[in-house]
């Protein structure tokens, strides 16, 4: 069970043409390691789809035509800090990996974040959520690409706490770094809007039965029950909240982090009406739909998640920066180049990477459709509002990132 499952070891794109300036890569090849959840709770919105997206970015970048050799490999970090650290060290030291992308849970992302810094490599986080990656833990070797706990809290928290029946909150929180960060960031938004946090309960991760915690939330009489957890914990909690008549009883559920695969797993009948924040949705525009059309057949009919899109976007920008720089040897230099160049790709459009390592783009507030509004499987979201890039992420001076002067 242990060790590196080199789940996908290839996609070596050999140099075909020889026009243009040849970049000088450390060992003649840019090696991209997709470190992700291949088998656990989060594998459906990361996993093999992330490896596929990284390869797609390499293909769309036209590495072969530019005479650059790029290799994409993947491994399962099993959402454990020790396993992800071992693989990251092995990749950086032995396998000559230049950049690690994805990283699904907060604990694995924080662990690899510090290894990347120690080894002066590049770490591009798409899967993990904690806003500490661009706050107290920010690093000159990392960029946090898709979303973070602050942006989720800001999107969903603001939308609910601004309304008259969203003033009092109770949190059901996963008892580890990610849950704590999400709860902290959302509490701040609620209080800023004049709301009150009536209480919280921290459940072991992963949990199965949430009825006891939901009952405590029900007894608190809070108007909103904030679910500061993810994946199976969130779907189980939502399923059981429906069973215990929480929403019929007048309380609202706020699923602070939820992915399209979770909605698929819940079914629209249970999930309808949920409001939440995401960075990307496959059916939002023609570009996204075109990507999904290529993605789904290669991934058992599943539609891409915002994490998949983030892996694509981050790998593409990385390749652009490395080519512009002409070298992939110095991780910190590559990252500064990535921060210097504006980002642009077909999935996220134009954007920038801030000094603290935060990638900036619009975020969206979505609502889950009613069963009768949906045209079929995967037609799940309707856009409630767009949160402009300038407001979507934590102001740089509030994060406490030591890199920001």
């Amino acid at each position: 069970m242990r060790g590196t499952f080199k789940a996908a070891a290839a996609a070596a794109l050999l140099s075909a043409g020889s026009f243009g300036a040849q970049a000088q890569m450390t060992d003649g090849v840019i090696k991209i390691g997709v470190l992700t959840d291949m088998s656990g709770l989060y594998a459906d919105f990361t996993g093999q789809g992330s490896v596929w997206s990284a390869r797609k970015a390499v293909e769309d970048f036209g590495a072969a035509a530019k005479g650059i050799k790029v290799e994409v490999i993947g491994a399962d970090h099993q959402n454990k800090a020790d396993i992800s650290s071992n693989i990251a060290r092995q990749w950086f030291d032995v396998d000559k990996v230049d950049v690690i992308v994805d990283l699904v849970s907060t604990t694995t992302a924080l662990a690899v974040n510090s290894i990347g810094r120690e080894k002066n490599k590049v770490v591009l986080v798409s899967g993990a959520a904690t806003s500490d990656l661009t706050g107290s833990q920010c690093s000159p070797n990392s960029i946090h690409w898709v979303y973070d706990t602050w942006s989720l809290a800001n999107g969903t928290g603001n939308a609910l706490a601004k309304t008259a029946d969203g003033k009092s909150w109770f949190f059901v929180t996963a008892d580890y770094a990610f849950g704590h960060a999400l709860e902290r960031d959302t509490s701040a938004v609620v209080e800023k809007n004049g709301g009150k946090v009536l209480g919280k309960v921290r459940h072991p991760f992963p949990g199965q039965d949430f009825s006891s915690f939901l009952l405590q939330a029900q007894a608190s009489k809070a108007q909103v029950i904030g679910l500061a957890n993810a994946g199976g914990d969130t779907t189980n909690a939502i399923k059981q909240a429906a069973e215990f008549g929480i929403v019929q009883g007048g309380q609202k559920l706020a699923s602070l982090l939820i992915f399209i695969s979770d909605i698929h797993s819940l079914g629209l009948k249970t999930a309808q009406g949920l409001t939440f924040t995401e960075a990307w949705y496959w059916d939002l525009n023609d570009n996204n739909r075109a990507y999904a059309k290529e993605f789904a057949p290669a991934n058992k009919g599943v539609q891409p998640s915002m994490v998949h899109a983030g892996v694509y976007s981050s790998v593409l920008h990385y390749l652009k920066a490395v080519t512009a720089l002409g070298s992939d040897g110095d991780g910190a230099k590559v990252i500064s180049k990535m921060k210097e160049m504006p980002t642009e790709d077909r999935l996220f459009g134009k954007g920038v990477v801030r000094q603290d390592g935060r990638k900036i783009h619009d975020m969206y507030l979505f609502q889950v459709k009613k069963p009768e509004e949906s045209k079929g499987p995967w037609d799940y979201y309707k856009l409630a509002s767009t949160i402009p890039a300038s407001e979507a992420f934590r102001p740089i001076e509030q994060g406490g990132c030591p890199l920001v002067k």
């Binding site: 069970m1 088998s39 656990g40 709770l41 989060y42 594998a43 459906d44 919105f45 996993g47 008892d175 309960v201 921290r202 459940h203 072991p204 992963p206 199965q208 039965d209 009825s211 006891s212 915690f213 009952l215 405590q216 029900q218 007894a219 994946g231 199976g232 779907t235 189980n236 399923k239 059981q240 429906a242 069973e243 215990f244 008549g245 009883g249 695969s261 979770d262 698929h264 797993s265 819940l266 079914g267 009948k269 249970t270 058992k300 599943v302």
Partner: protein, 293 residues
Amino acid sequence: MFELLGVPPQALFGQLLLGLINGAFYALLSLGLAVIFGMLNVINFTHGAQYMMGAFAAWMLLQYAGLPFWVALVVAPLIIGLTGIIVERLLLSRLYHLDHLYGLLLTFGLALIFEGLFRKQFGSSGLPYQNPLPGGVNLGFMFLPWYRGFIVMFSLVVCLGTWFLIERTKLGAYLRAATENPQLVQAFGINVPRMITLTYGFGVALAGLAGVLAAPIYSVTPVMGANLIIVVFAVVVIGGMGSILGSIVTGFGLGIVEGFTKVFYPEASNTVIFIIMAIVLMIRPAGLFGTQR
């Protein structure tokens, strides 16, 4: 009104009831394990995977055959029991003459294979399954969904029925005799190997049944059993390996203990059962209801 450590009594009643409901699952699963261990001397590590397969069987019956929950409640355990019989005939029966450890390794390996296959086919996020008994009743201190009430009653009936079957009927007497002295029982003209096969099938069917019961309230995912089975093993150890009554009583009892922990110190609710297990093992190594073999 009196309060206990800052928690109003209504909340405690609610948690007591929820604990009983979770205990019902522990009891059903540990009962299957106890039956198998008691008769076969095999520690069935595939139990969690078989529970998961029960839930998936219910989903598949609904999805592909349009069969509702109530039909699945009967059919799915039969299917899972049958797969158990195949596993016993093909693999497990070849290991009886070896050390227990081999059976444990085989069943553990099978669990990983089954979970891997389901994950490959259905992904890891899980599948939707609608509640067959929506709604509930307000008891004053809590809202009790009809379905949860049904789980407690139903599993109590199944547990007591199993206990009665094994401890109070002639068939049960044969089974217990065959465990003590298989040669002698065989000499009386009873087909002991077939009885053992059916016992394993029955234990596995109990796991499948618990899985069907879980489908409407928990996410149907390939890892749903892996999360639960460790706790269930602790329940079996506390109750005493192989003790039928012990597994039922400790199953419900520990569900309640866990429920209370979720109120007073929720962070520890995953560990409390293991703390109890450690204490019980120190004081009574054979478990609360077990006898030294």
